[in-house]
Symmetry: C2
Subunit: 352 residues, 2 copies
């Protein structure tokens, strides 16, 4: 955090964000969900998926890609699975709907699957898997999106930095919360490098013309994690989250069709009811035991501590809940412009 | 393939492998399944998961870790999910049982989950997901194993190179078959480097004492794919394939308990019935369309061709089905020793 950063309390930021989305046409309930998902990401230190997305979401409403009043409908349903048409709902609204359905079905039959078709930016997937883990589920979420990452062997964006999140509850330990993109580096990290001017590693990115670059100003297309592994995994996410839901994204974009130019995402939520397979107390104890065993491994001197997935975010969450969320000046200004347009009062900040 | 390699036809190799496992105590049906899974891997060029595993499997039977006559039982069952106790069955037997159950459940309810507890080396996971894809399923398989890969930030094996496989059917194109380990490099590739003496890349491996090395003779513990991404994904596979099935592997090994020293694996199979969510013809056509769009991307001059997951294996399969499977002399000799011990005639080979 630079000296010029502002700091905002989570509740004020959430009230502000809710108000923005209510003015932009969302119901109060939907606006609350979107605000909660975005501020949650900020609280955990995932600022790339936090309130800095607000101006973009508002823009998506203005151009008609995000439907503020979606008619979310169930297209196919069995006692264990459901295909939901999100009608271009805000991602947090659609994905919360999907994960809730998956959890309900898992409660009944041990496993529940929700395919969420036609949503918009799904925000941080960990928001949904963590919610399910808090209900004693093992949960997995995927999101398919339009091309923004190089496909292995190609010099252009062919797939998306599609994320995968998995979460399980712990006992004394917090839930283990894993959330990774399929790129070697995130779009957010490339954007930060552009702002700071720090050069980026060889093999991280292509420029807009598809040439490898280490120039942060030119870097545009992240490379896949581990070459064919990351781009292959991302392609499979398109197959099972998008093609399976009858809403292909990559083909449409790569062929340059009219719909291919629009912002569109699909999601998949899977929940497994732990208690159906193992005593829940035993499971929680075993997760704690596993965390302890991992943290006791001989430490690489280049790191301060061995961490399990989600642990760093848990700590940032604690600090930011207490001390507030740093808001870069550029983010603040972008939010102020949206707030002015919609007639919303800015959230309170302090300087530090 | 070196000039000294032998070549074997798939059918002779499969008959030999079946005979070995029958003599080692498996039923004819189980021996056929194990042989088919191993020779399938050879045919696709995944020799690390082919018949070179036969001596190790026989050893696992001798020491009591692989049960040749398992009583595979269903511990928990719902119409959508099942927990199977494999009773230390050979991996291909247990995983085939699991994926078959998952497919049956998916046929009924759209999604089917099988947790396979207490199996042994699961061989190539693509064998099971491909089988499901051929039945018009989107399929996913995971396998949990004992620690053999560095955990991010640790200088010791803390997790396993746990694989994840996903497959979907194509139309004119073959099924897309993805199968990746969570390591930056596979154990098999480290073993090959040891044989060839080629030095390995910086950041690929630790030696037995946990120090980073580029010496192929010293390299022992592969590093995780993308640091915290690969080791985090592997840890989550342990959580949902092992801890959820009440058969934790990593904690037991890392704590050095008696059972922790034994060879044990767990698997997870998930099947989704495509036709329940989208017309199967449309799905197949859309997969073909996606493959075409990916292969039309501007090519990186450093590769000959842009490939989709499974495509390379499909081609090797074609070649090896026609021309035979190359068997390195060392593999042949190891198989000969096992064959002698069990009184099995060697498979026919030619030289080339």
């Amino acid at each position: 955090m630079s000296a010029a950063d502002l700091v905002a309390a989570a509740d004020g930021l959430a009230r502000f964000t809710t108000e923005i989305f209510v003015r932009a046409g969302l119901s109060n309930a939907h606006a609350l969900t979107v605000a909660d998902a975005l501020v949650w990401a900020n609280l955990r230190g995932v600022d790339s998926h936090g309130v800095m997305r607000v101006p973009r979401y508002v823009e998506l409403i203005e151009v008609g890609d995000l439907n503020p009043n979606p008619a979310i409908t169930v297209k196919t349903e069995t006692p264990a699975a459901v295909l939901i048409d999100a009608d271009r709902a805000a991602g947090p609204v659609a994905m919360t709907f999907g994960m809730t359905a998956a959890v309900r079905k898992a409660r009944a039959l041990g496993v529940g699957l929700a395919l969420v078709r036609g949503t918009t930016h799904t925000a941080a997937l960990g928001y949904y898997t963590l919610a399910a883990a808090r209900e004693n589920m093992a949960a997995l979420a995927l999101a398919g999106s339009t091309p923004n990452m190089a496909y292995h062997g190609a010099r252009a964006a062919g797939v998306s930095t599609s994320p995968i999140s998995i979460a399980v509850p712990g006992g004394e330990h917090a839930p283990i919360l894993f959330d990774m993109g399929t790129g070697i580096v995130s779009i957010g990290k490339l954007m930060r490098a552009k702002h700071t001017g720090q050069s980026i590693s060889d093999g991280w990115a292509l420029d807009q013309s598809g040439n490898p670059t280490t120039d942060p100003q030119a870097a545009h297309i992240p490379m896949p994690l581990g070459g064919p592994k990351g781009s292959g995994l991302s392609l499979m996410i398109e197959c099972i989250a998008s093609v399976l839901a009858a809403n292909p994204l990559l083909s449409e974009s790569l062929e340059g069709t009219a719909v291919g130019h629009r912002h569109r995402q699909n999601g998949l939520a899977l929940a497994i009811d732990i208690a159906r397979f193992v005593d829940i107390g035993t499971f929680r104890d075993e997760i704690d035991r596993l965390v302890k065993a991992i943290k006791r491994l001989p430490r690489d001197p280049s790191v301060d501590e061995i961490l399990v997935p989600g642990e760093r975010g848990d700590r940032v969450f604690e600090t930011r809940t207490r001390d507030g969320i740093p808001i870069p000046r550029a983010t603040y200004e972008a939010l102020r412009r949206v707030a002015e347009k919609l007639g919303v009062t800015m959230f309170p900040t302090s300087e530090r």
